[in-house]
């Protein structure tokens, strides 16, 4: 059968701009990375750590605070701060379940999806890989309350099945990844939509900032636990920010782009 010309023309549209943009930014984010390395000559610790990156086999696996890294009181504090959000999330799920019983299965499968997503690798020019957190995607799709519950479970599974994160640091990780991340992502997404920004921008900024602020929170948590002798909290915060959040910018951009790509593909279904 011969295809009519008009039909052929409208067919392969997605192989266009968007992917070219992804490619372009992925490339520039690599340059960004290089840029950080270069300018870090000013910041001694960063160059040292950058060198360390090269020697460690598994670089930058989604930066959860590892088991045992936080003192007991901070473990308890963050757990106490996260708990209300989990309870709130459970309550809100329970409420919706009465109307839509199928939601339980959907959330179950979605949680598994989030876990599998975090185990995938985003290809990158340097050959090293980063892992999508899926926080932004989940928050936009399911709302931040449900996402805090799913995020909490996924973090437990990551600790137990993948040895990323930990039990004592669960509270802190839940707060940064399952509370701050989703709420920021969702808030930014709604805000941009409300300001009648385009959907792709809302999704991108939501996922990008959700990802980035997760790591800002992580830095803050570490700084609180380990204030510097000189300069105290702020000096320490700057230090951890430099290590854990700035290095995350290119990865957060990747995550934002991937989320836009996925979101657009989902809406074509």
């Amino acid at each position: 059968m011969i295809l009519s010309r008009r039909r052929v023309e409208i067919l392969p549209k997605p192989a266009g701009l968007k992917e070219r943009a992804v490619y372009f930014i992925a490339k520039t984010s690599c340059i960004c990375k290089g840029g950080i390395l270069l300018s870090s000559k000013i910041l001694f610790p960063v160059i040292l750590l950058a060198a360390l990156f090269l020697f460690i086999p598994q670089p930058a696996y989604a930066m959860h605070i590892m088991e045992g890294f936080l003192p007991v009181k901070w473990c308890l504090l963050w757990a106490a701060l996260s708990l209300p959000f989990i309870i709130w999330g459970l309550r809100s799920i329970q409420k919706v379940l009465r109307e839509q019983p199928k939601l339980k299965m959907l959330l179950g499968v979605a949680g598994a999806f989030a876990f599998v997503l975090s185990a995938l690798k985003i290809p990158s020019v340097t050959g090293s890989c980063s892992h999508p957190t899926g926080v932004g995607l989940g928050a936009i799709l399911f709302g931040p309350a449900a996402m805090s519950v799913l995020g909490c479970i996924v973090l437990i599974f990551q600790a137990l099945l993948l040895a990323h994160g930990g039990i004592t640091t669960l509270g802190a990780n839940v707060f940064s990844m399952a509370v701050v991340g989703p709420f920021v992502a969702y808030g930014v997404f709604r805000l941009v939509r409300k300001l009648s920004g385009p959907q792709w921008l809302a999704v991108f900024l939501g996922a990008f900032l959700g990802d980035l602020l997760t790591y800002v929170t992580t830095s803050f948590q570490l700084a609180l636990a380990f204030p510097a002798e000189v300069g105290g909290l702020m000096a320490s915060f700057t230090k951890f920010m430099g290590v854990f959040a700035l290095t995350q910018i290119p990865l957060a951009i990747s995550e934002g782009l991937l989320t836009v790509l996925i979101f657009n593909l989902l809406t074509t279904y």
Partner: protein
């Protein structure tokens, strides 16, 4: 006939040390129709993944047109362009939003110019008889249609060998037959076709050469008529005998044949035998 694809003493262990393939040597001749039989878990799919360079053997070598496969980027590109795999579960194989995108995926990855990609997609869709589905979303398709789309996606890459992992499973008899006709057409045009199947009757009627696998090893290779008369082999591999061959053997056993008759390969040949024997029935 020349050998197009060959494995020599291929072994493969999964990272947890389960051996999936043990010392597998096969020789696939160009243009042939080859079937792999054996129970689930015998290693058929694992072997197929090696033939396309997806898995790298722990030991042994794979040769394509006599040249050993190196596991570098260009060598793998060359291999995968020439050897297409159609996986068993069409549902998990299709990942694009619509049929055109799905079929264009492979040719685009070959780095072909857009004009050429369009032409190939159009041809592949016509060959698999699904031109009318071109802009359908993939998830609205029936299972049989999905299967065709996944085959079109491979055909568009114009491989010289096409491998199909249980092509007719989950298809109803009508669509299964249609698919086998398509596969036969590919074979007539010179493509080497390798498939795995649980359908004994189909394998017996279709294949020119059959490999039987069990526990990661090749138990035997041979032409269907001989291979299926090897009772201990069939028993060991948990295969049953094709009904047509069985009836032929029954005839032979009870003295229907006065002279040597070649085993029939399909229904038609069996019917001819029954017809030919009719005058020997006492009135």
């Amino acid at each position: 006939m020349s050998t197009i694809l060959e494995t020599r003493n291929l072994s493969f262990q999964y990272p947890d040390d389960t051996a999936a393939l043990k010392d597998v040597s096969v020789k696939i001749e160009s243009g042939k129709k080859v079937a792999f039989l054996g129970p689930n878990g015998a290693g058929k799919s694992t072997l197929f993944l090696h033939l396309n360079g997806i898995l790298k053997p722990s030991q042994g070598r794979i040769l394509f047109k006599g040249r050993e496969i190196k596991y570098n980027r260009s060598s793998l590109m060359e291999l995968r362009r020439n050897i297409g795999i159609v996986f068993q579960d069409a549902d998990s194989q299709l990942f694009s939003a619509n049929v055109f995108q799905e079929v264009s995926f492979g040719p685009l990855n070959l780095g072909l110019p857009e004009q050429e990609v369009r032409a190939r997609v159009t041809k592949a869709l016509a060959d698999t008889d699904i031109s009318h589905l071109v802009q359908k979303p993939t998830h609205f398709l029936s299972y049989g249609q999905k299967k065709r789309v996944s085959i079109a996606g491979i055909l568009a890459m114009e491989p010289s060998v096409i491998i199909l992992d249980e092509p007719t499973s989950s298809l109803d008899p009508y669509h299964g037959k249609q698919l086998m006709d398509l596969i036969d057409e590919l074979s007539r045009r010179g493509t080497t076709v390798i498939l795995s199947t649980h359908d004994i009757e189909m394998a017996y009627a279709w294949a020119e050469s059959i490999y039987v696998m069990l526990d990661g090893m090749i138990l035997k290779e041979g032409v269907p008529e001989e291979l299926f008369q090897d009772e201990p082999l069939l028993k060991k591999a948990g295969l049953c005998k094709p009904l047509i061959l069985e009836i032929y053997q029954e005839f032979k056993k009870w003295g229907y044949f006065k002279e040597e008759i070649k085993p029939p390969r399909n229904k038609k040949q069996l019917s001819q035998i029954i017809e030919a024997l009719a005058p020997t029935i006492k009135d």
